[in-house]
Amino acid sequence: MSQSAVDVPPKGGFSFDLCKRNDMLTQKGLKAPSFLKTGTTIVGLIFKDGVILGADTRATEGPIVADKNCEKIHYMAPNIYCCGAGTAADTEAVTDMVSSQLRLHRYQTGRDSRVITALTLLKKHLFSYQGHVSAALVLGGVDITGPHLHTIYPHGSTDTLPFATMGSGSLAAMSVFEAKYKEGLTRDEGIKLVAEAICSGIFNDLGSGSNVDICVITKGNKEYLRNYMEPNPRTYVSSKGYSFTKKTEVLLTKITPLLERVEITEVGEAMEE
């Protein structure tokens, strides 16, 4: 413990020094914590000019909705986006990490990233942790070789598909795709189909809910339509709000005035040659 406190920043990767203590607590009868999961419906499909990704926006903690409007479509590269299902911390960490690696790779090669590069980096990481990093991903993008769509499972296996769904609502969404997908969809048809698939996940799966996010990626262009559809608005909102008849009783008040924030503008001379 003292070593890692001094050795800042730590070398990276996971640190296992609290595992023994947590095991001891579990043996004493205290249950381990539950993590934030993204119940989720995530989908992707390939249309005439590129790829469309879609996701719902509900994050759950057990049976409780922790976040009603979270973002599940993560940025990987200007031409590649990734939807994540499973444990929220794992999907965020793994997509952030691979996004950084892709950027470094772009600087080194001087070329735009390819979807297959992101795929290989993700599957190598997930396989090496044997499924304990619980991230199920739908990766899509358009690179020099064309549009690509892949699914990645927590244990590291991948599929390359024209349309894909993942998450607890994947069956509901897949039923819509299997019925209505055809090759060579236009942009509007594709968006409509993705929105329909996500909605079927939102309304039929309890782990998915709230709004629909859509991301359209074409050659040289991307459009992130955050909250494209909001089929679940809050119905009864009282405009007056809550009025409290009895005020809270305060025992002690301490006011600390803060110094005004001073903007320091550096006025210096340029370096001499």
């Binding site: 800042v8 947590n22 911390a89 803060l258």
Partner: protein, 204 residues
């Protein structure tokens, strides 16, 4: 019994108009026995950034010490305070580092960013950030807190009204939770001052 129910806690943060409020209960217990009634769960990182930690009390204190250490190093290197968004990413990274043997606590971070825009976020014990525009809750009383805040929150409240709302939400929620309560500790932060108040609640 879950590990989070060992000590009991309740933390909530709310956003107002150019201000924010963060509140916690004050009980420290060992399962059903109350050990202390003045436990500090909310700590200051710098003038405009507060962090409230719920969960196992030992991890609350250790994690707080680690974060203060990292922030002081940042201040020495960058010669300025950390922005709330940056701090949230730092906390998330520190928690995710321990993914397979986590710190057993859930932080609530509240701060005033650039242009005095309030920022709040919470995380689960492995660092999954949850940014919200209205309120965030954490602790054993979180289910009641979700309900109370959902009903009582209004957008763009001024500091006094925000204080009243967050106090009422906190006290009514901890009344429904055996493991948290024994008063409340509320910080309301505006660009010019920090008002720290201790609330009288049911002492049971």
């Amino acid at each position: 019994m879950s590990i989070f129910e060992y000590n009991g806690s309740a933390v909530v943060a709310m956003v107002g108009k150019n201000c924010f409020a963060i509140a916690s209960d004050r009980r420290l217990g060992v399962q059903l026995q109350t050990i202390a009634t003045d436990f500090q769960r909310i700590s200051k990182i710098h003038d405009h950034l507060f962090i409230g930690l719920s969960g196992l009390a030992t991890d609350v204190q250790t994690l707080y010490q680690r974060l203060v250490f990292r922030h002081k190093l940042y201040q020495l290197r960058e010669e300025r305070d950390m922005k709330p968004e940056t701090f949230a990413s730092l906390v998330s990274a520190i928690l995710y580092e321990k993914r397979f043997g986590p710190f057993l606590c859930q932080p609530v971070i509240a701060g005033l960013g650039d242009d005095n825009k309030p920022f709040i976020c919470t995380m689960d014990s492995i660092g999954a950030k949850e940014l919200a525009k209205d309120f965030v809750v954490s602790g054993t009383a979180s289910e009641s807190l979700y309900g109370a805040c959902e009903a009582m929150f209004k957008p763009d409240m001024e500091a006094e009204e925000l204080f009243e709302t967050i106090s009422q939400a906190l006290l009514s929620s901890v009344d429904r939770d055996c493991l948290s309560g024994w008063g409340g500790h509320v910080y309301v932060v505006t660009p010019n001052e920090v008002k720290e108040r201790i609330l009288k609640g049911r002492m049971d």
